[in-house]
């Protein structure tokens, strides 16, 4: 186990440097890319914080839709298994199984939950209601 600072603390220090020192002292394309870089670190920070909870929620949701499955032991295996289960879900949507009915309703609810989790990491500001 590593000493302090934590990964999050280290990344946040780099993010602050980009935002407070580089962005105000550059212009044009370099400034734009510095801003994108700082924002990217913010995504990573939010993902570090939320990933475990989000992966668990997605796994549980897919089990309810596709049936139970032994929970992989490591996070890397969990990601691989989630990919496989999402591919199965996509195949069933393509086959028309989510066009209507009770299972379809549950699919929409699940997809909405997962997309909400993803966007709360990548761009939480986007979750504000869109215009009518």
């Amino acid at each position: 186990m590593q000493d302090h600072p934590t990964v999050a603390q280290l990344l946040d220090a780099v993010r602050r440097y980009l935002e407070e020192e580089i962005v105000p002292n550059t212009d044009g394309r370099r400034q734009f890319l510095a801003r994108v870089s700082a924002n990217t670190l913010q995504i990573v920070l939010r993902e570090l914080e939320a990933e475990e909870e989000h992966l668990e929620r997605e796994w549980a949701g897919l089990e309810r839709l596709l049936g139970p499955m032994a929970r992989p032991a490591t996070r890397a295996e969990l990601r691989a298994a989630l990919r496989a289960r999402n591919e199965e879900l996509c195949r069933r949507i393509r086959a028309g199984e989510a066009d209507g009915g009770e299972w379809s309703r549950r699919v929409w609810e699940h997809v909405r939950t997962v997309v909400r989790d993803k966007i709360s990491v990548t761009n939480p500001g986007f979750l504000a209601p869109a215009s009518p």
Binding site: N86, C90, D99, N123
Partner: protein, 339 residues
């Protein structure tokens, strides 16, 4: 291409195509740079006997590479000319140059001064007076674009739905093909959108010229309003409602609260479109195209991230854009559930 190279090669090419000499080319600066096209701002001074010397402020577009399925310099120049001649506010096309002139196919058009950045339209005080009029202007201009006569020359190269297919059916098939090709991850939300769109395919009215990337961000505007429509490389023949749906896609609202460019209402867009001679607007058809537009933009973001994921570039911009597809997933779910 470097600025010095543009400065060195352009005068001779211009002297030939404009029939004026000598020619001074000054103030060369790159406006945007991409793997496919380079856009340069140049000032050109002609000094012909018997004609007053005048400086022309031009834009040089150099087609460094041809994107798969992309439009050539010659064809984009033709579309621009057809639009300009039909009275669409667009940069006046000046001259088409050959590959030998600038080392790659290129053309010159007039430079229209003004702002293109969408966020400034939504937020800057300078544009407060024009914001309430933008939807109206965009509606009128869309009607003008869709009224551009489809000459035999244009028909010869513009992509069009095959005989008997609607624009919606054709575009949906195309975008699904691109999606299957480009995606690295399963996207249940995109699969739901593909099903939704297929079940609700809308018939086309008469096919017209479609701009294909008609939105705030691709227009030049000033404090008095929209001055010119840019970026004609996506032009094709199809359902004109496609442009009306695309202009409402959330990604082109730049944080503004209203659907048309963040600053205008759909109803204003539609009323102006009809008043300026556009076909009657069925809001449900436009809605289909808005859903399609969000899916299309989501798939484009996957495509923009692909060079990074394939290791062709290590730039942070294409890396970051890979995480933007989910924004369109969210918007798609919102739109589809609203019906």
């Amino acid at each position: 291409m470097r600025a010095e190279e543009v400065e060195a090669r352009l005068p001779e090419a211009l002297a030939r195509v404009l029939g004026a000499s000598p020619v001074a080319v000054t103030n060369v600066r790159q406006m945007t740079g991409g793997a496919v096209h380079e856009t340069w701002a140049v000032d050109v001074t002609t000094q012909d006997v018997g004609r007053p010397a005048g400086a022309q402020r031009l834009v040089l577009r150099v087609f460094v590479a041809t994107a798969p399925g992309g439009m050539s310099a010659e064809h984009e120049f033709s579309v621009l000319r057809a639009a300009f001649d039909a009275g669409v506010p667009a940069p006046r096309p000046v001259a088409l140059l050959g590959s030998a002139d600038m080392g790659a196919p290129s053309f010159l058009m007039e430079r229209v001064d003004g702002e293109t950045i969408g966020r400034r339209l939504v937020k800057d005080a300078l544009y407060a007076a024009v914001r309430p009029r933008v939807a109206d202007q965009l509606g009128r201009i869309a009607a003008a674009i869709h009224g551009v006569p489809l000459s035999a020359e244009l028909r010869a190269f513009l992509s069009a739905p095959p005989e008997g297919a609607s624009g919606a059916e054709w575009e949906l098939r195309r975008i699904e093909g691109i999606y299957r090709d480009v995606t690295r991850d399963p996207h249940p939300a995109f699969e739901l959108a593909l099903r939704w769109l297929r079940e609700r395919l809308v018939p086309s009215g008469p096919h017209t010229l479609v701009h294909g990337d008609y939105r705030v961000g691709n227009v030049v505007y000033g404090p008095e309003g929209v001055r010119a429509v840019l970026d004609w490389e996506g032009a094709h023949i199809g359902d004109p409602m496609e442009d009306l749906g695309w202009v409402c896609v959330r990604s082109w609202r730049f944080g503004g609260g209203l659907p048309v460019g963040g600053v205008g209402k759909r109803e204003e867009l539609f009323a102006a479109y009809e008043a300026a001679g556009g076909a009657p607007v069925d809001p449900r058809r436009v809605r289909w195209w808005e859903v399609f537009g969000n899916l299309r933009w989501g798939i484009i973001t996957l495509g923009l991230a692909a060079p990074f994921l394939r290791g062709h570039t290590h730039d942070v911009e294409p890396a970051a854009i890979g995480r933007r597809a989910v924004e369109t997933e969210w918007e798609l779910l919102e739109l589809m559930e609203a019906g």
